[in-house]
């Protein structure tokens, strides 16, 4: 019987697994996808927002501000990238300027470093802002991360410290034991429990953390609670631009936010690409992460309002993903009253990524501490840092090569990634088992050739390392094989 079963290995499940792994608790994470971070965690703009725009009094506001504060330290500790890029909220009309003033006041009230810049100042810092720029709000504490990298490193450290992870595991039903326990809050120290039925077997836990993203309502509804909430998938479509000698922008560029959300952004990424997006449409099908022409055109039109000279001929990829929008207007982070021990961490849409470390702290300090006795482990094992050769000097690279010549064999030319690094990505505790998993961990397939040159090599390496035939190497889920027959006649 587990102390906690966490449903969902996205950024929130990963933070919780990691933070709880510091304590003497028996923890299992269940994830229906083939890897950590397959849902909203890979379908956002990768921004650690300053915390300037969530509505006052919401958990969104509180936890975003806190998350922004603690992210850099956490990333450093995990050896994950974090970069302060600063951000501009740009007004392109006098009407929009009023919103700048409002946001400025709100940010100032939250002690968020900010200043208003006029058109001239703004354009001198970001020459590709449009001529229509009237004034901007500068938010220097805005940062960018690689969300899945943070999730991988968190979960990996959690696993090293005893957390179990079951991937490709779909929750089919949840049964509370004892069956009847409603209004009276039971002493949940071992008195109340849950059985989670999955397609890989049944697991027992004293407590459950529901961090299941767009499926969080479906998961909670398995208990048939009276206080149901609903999650709707909100699709966001993006363009990714190639790396460029002259970056288009060096800051995150926000338009004036609307009721639809933060709007369509222009965002530099950690690896030097530029994101354009997201759009925002509610969609019924929770698996509906397909792109469509009208929406992509909409994204184009919107970004052209804030930034000019966007080189659309440098698009290397488009994609779509769903973020979980709840029906309450805020994060839903609470222990179920009807089902003690069942914690919902749901509706974590923007600024969910930026809030994630604070969400975990909040859950632990406000809910978990009341459920169990938290005893810190005496020894905590840190994960091993892995080398990234394209960031090293030639002398450093040569040293690594001397220990392991496969670090000299470049497999992904677009991103300069060696065979050694790809093998590291498979052999690490939370190792890649799919082509997409390699891409997320070490980049091959993310570059301008989109795997055109390196994919056959990646498949060969996975096949060799995992000792499976090439016909069993998949892109992502089971059924996404690339090679249909290993050897033609």
């Amino acid at each position: 019987m587990y102390d906690y079963i966490i449903i969902g290995a996205g950024i929130n499940g990963s933070f919780l697994a990691h933070d709880l792994s510091k304590y003497k608790l028996n923890i299992l994470v269940i994830e229906k996808g083939p890897d950590v971070a397959t849902g909203a965690t890979i379908a956002n703009s990768a921004i650690v927002h300053a915390g300037h725009d969530p509505k006052p009094g919401t958990l969104k506001a509180k936890l975003n501000i806190e998350g922004n504060r603690i992210y850099p330290g956490i990333c450093k500790d995990l050896d994950a990238d974090f970069k302060y890029t600063s951000a501009f909220v740009t007004a392109t009309s006098t009407e929009e300027s009023l919103s700048i003033d409002m946001l400025y006041a709100q940010a100032k009230g939250r002690n968020i470093p900010c200043e208003v810049l006029d058109k001239k100042q703004a354009l001198s810092l970001e020459p590709n802002l449009t001529e229509n720029t009237v004034k901007v709000l500068n938010l220097p504490t805005t940062g960018i991360i690689t969300p899945w990298e943070v999730a991988f490193n968190l979960m990996e450290e959690a696993i090293i410290n005893g957390v179990s992870l079951s991937l490709n595991t779909k929750v089919l039903g949840i049964i509370p034991r004892p069956k009847t326990c409603y209004i009276d809050k039971c002493d949940s120290m071992g008195k109340l429990g849950y059985e989670i039925i999955t397609d890989k077997g049944t697991f027992k836990a004293a407590n459950i953390i529901n961090a299941a993203g767009v499926y969080a309502d479906d998961i909670y509804n398995m208990l048939n609670p009276r206080d149901k909430f609903s999650i709707t998938g909100r699709k966001g479509e993006y363009y990714i631009l190639d790396k460029m000698a002259e970056p288009l922008v060096s800051r995150v560029i926000y338009p004036i936010p609307s009721s639809k959300g933060k709007g369509v952004l222009v965002v530099p990424t950690i690896h030097g690409n530029t994101l354009l997006g997201p759009s925002s449409e509610f969609i019924e099908d929770k698996r509906g992460n397909f792109t469509d022409t009208e929406t992509l055109e909409y994204v184009k039109t919107q970004v052209n309002k804030t930034v000019r000279n966007i080189p659309f001929n440098k698009v290397i990829k488009t994609y779509a993903g769903l973020r979980p929008t709840g029906n309450t207007g805020d994060f839903i982070i609470s222990e179920s009253y009807e089902f003690p021990g069942f914690i919902n961490v749901a509706a974590i849409e923007s600024p969910g990524l930026a809030s994630a470390p604070a969400i975990s702290e909040y859950v632990i300090n406000n809910i978990i501490e009341n459920q169990v006795l938290l005893k810190e482990k005496k020894e905590y094992i840190k994960r091993t840092k892995l080398p990234i050769l394209n960031r090293m000097s030639i002398t450093e690279k040569q040293k690594l090569w001397a220990e392991n010549p496969s670090y000299g064999n470049i497999i992904c030319r677009c991103e300069s990634i060696s065979e050694g690094e790809i093998i590291d990505a498979i052999r690490r505790p939370l190792g890649a088992t799919t082509v997409d998993g390699i891409k997320r961990r070490v980049r091959p397939g993310s570059g301008r050739c989109q795997g055109g040159f390196c994919q056959p090599e990646i498949i060969k390496i996975i096949s060799k390392e995992l000792d499976i035939p090439v016909t069993e190497v998949v892109m992502f889920n089971k059924g996404s094989q690339i090679i249909t027959k290993g050897e033609i006649n």
Binding site: I316, I394, Q398, S480
Partner: protein, 414 residues
């Protein structure tokens, strides 16, 4: 730091020819750096014939054509590094490379020839809507799986793009037992050689859907189906014309892009229209001593011309090493908007003899007159018939006819 007289980046058809061109013009210390385990470049996977008609007066397969050049190189003292990736080219003509045998090293050249070839335009780059399942491959990558690795990559196929690579793969996959359900081409005309349309599609009753494009890819894990739509004169899909094909594979043959990220990192100026370096008639780029040839300069149709260009680049590199000259007076070359591009971008004024210009037309024309103008004066008129964008055209003009500082190539449609 080890120094060479000439370092050639890429050992495919362009690089091999550049090496021979330099060697035959007196260079003794040449290095070819190639990232694959063998020389030959893309020719090794082009197992069909049609190569060498101009160069050898024979119709050879890609591998056979490559082997001729490789044998010639092997007979010389030209140095070769295989399985070696160039990581950077610098404006001081140093190059950082890496391989398993030596690790990471830096070398210097008195001259450099860029011969990196091109890459294929990806699905993402043309933003085909839909899901992102496995089973979507560019035609060249599929060709590598099948011809080099011997893997089967699908059984029921649709192809987008009627350029030669798409057509060749339609035939190749059919011969390997796949069912090719059709080839879609967004333009109202095929981009490939008529011979290939005949022998790759007609021969196998594979339908060619002109003025069509793919407007949806379905399938969460592996391709389940593609949706084909007709397009209007503005190439915009027409609602209501959608047709769905149940396939497990979509091959893309939607364009080749010269692979110049290394060139850009070196600070070499690129021409927007070709995505290749701006060059003078010595094939020298904006950095003295660095030359370019083959698909990295502009995408070719005939490997014979790639070899010719390579030989020239090698020769000019050798001349540069013997007599490095940096400053030239130029005649700049411009073109009217109905031409896609013209190469070279400028001609050295003091050159004598003939100048060879290469261009592509933007859209097909049955009859047209090419006009070469210096200032307001027309110095040459050439009548042309059956011009198509998929065939690179050449003009040979005597340098003596050119006057002033500018040459403009115009096209008068008839």
């Amino acid at each position: 730091m080890k120094e060479y007289e000439l370092i050639i980046v890429g050992g495919g058809s362009a690089g091999l020819a550049a090496a021979m061109g330099a060697y035959e013009n007196g260079l003794n210390n040449i290095l070819i750096i190639e990232r694959e385990p063998e020389l030959g470049g893309i020719l090794l996977q082009c197992i069909h014939n049609g190569f060498g008609l101009h160069m050898f007066k024979e119709e050879l397969s890609g591998p056979t054509y490559a082997e001729r050049w490789i044998r010639n190189v092997q007979k010389t003292n030209i140095n070769i590094k295989l399985d070696t990736a160039v990581l950077s080219i610098n404006s001081d003509l140093t190059i950082e490379y890496s391989n398993e045998e030596e690790g990471y090293s830096k070398i210097k050249g008195k001259s450099i020839v860029l011969a990196m070839g091109c890459r294929e335009r990806s699905r993402g780059a043309i933003a085909i809507p839909g899901y992102r399942p496995a089973g979507v491959l560019t035609a060249g990558t599929a060709q590598k799986y099948i011809n080099i690795l011997g893997n089967e990559i699908g059984k029921k196929v649709f192809i987008l793009g009627s350029g030669d690579i798409g057509l060749i793969m339609a035939r190749r996959m059919t011969l390997e037992g796949a069912e090719v359900m059709g080839v879609a081409e967004i333009m109202p005309y095929s981009n490939g050689l008529p011979r290939n349309v005949k022998q790759c599609l007609d021969d196998f009753n594979i339908p060619l859907y002109l003025s069509h494009t793919i407007t949806f890819i379905d399938g969460h894990d592996r391709v389940k189906s593609i949706t084909l739509s007709k397009v209007d004169d503005n190439l915009v899909p027409i609602k209501g014309t959608e047709k769905t094909f149940e396939v497990d594979t979509l091959l893309l043959s939607v364009g080749l892009i010269p692979e110049n990220d290394l060139s850009e990192m070196a600070g070499i100026t690129l021409e927007k229209k070709t995505n290749g370096p701006i060059v003078n008639d010595n094939l020298q780029t904006s950095i003295p001593g660095i030359f370019a040839c083959g698909n990295v300069l502009h995408v070719h149709d005939l490997v014979d011309y790639v070899s010719k260009e390579g030989l020239k680049a090698g020769k000019r590199a050798a001349e540069y090493v013997m007599n490095p000259k940096e400053d030239y007076d130029y005649i700049s070359i411009n073109h009217d908007s109905n031409l896609s591009y013209i190469l070279p971008n400028k001609i050295i004024k003091e050159h004598e003899g003939n100048v060879e210009l290469m261009y592509r037309i933007k859209y097909p024309l049955k009859k047209a007159t090419i006009e070469l103008r210096c200032g307001n004066e027309i110095v040459r008129e050439i009548k042309k018939t059956n011009l198509v964008p998929s065939i690179m055209e050449k003009i040979l003009i005597s340098k003596a006819l050119l006057k002033g500082n500018e040459l403009t190539i115009g096209l008068k449609e008839e």
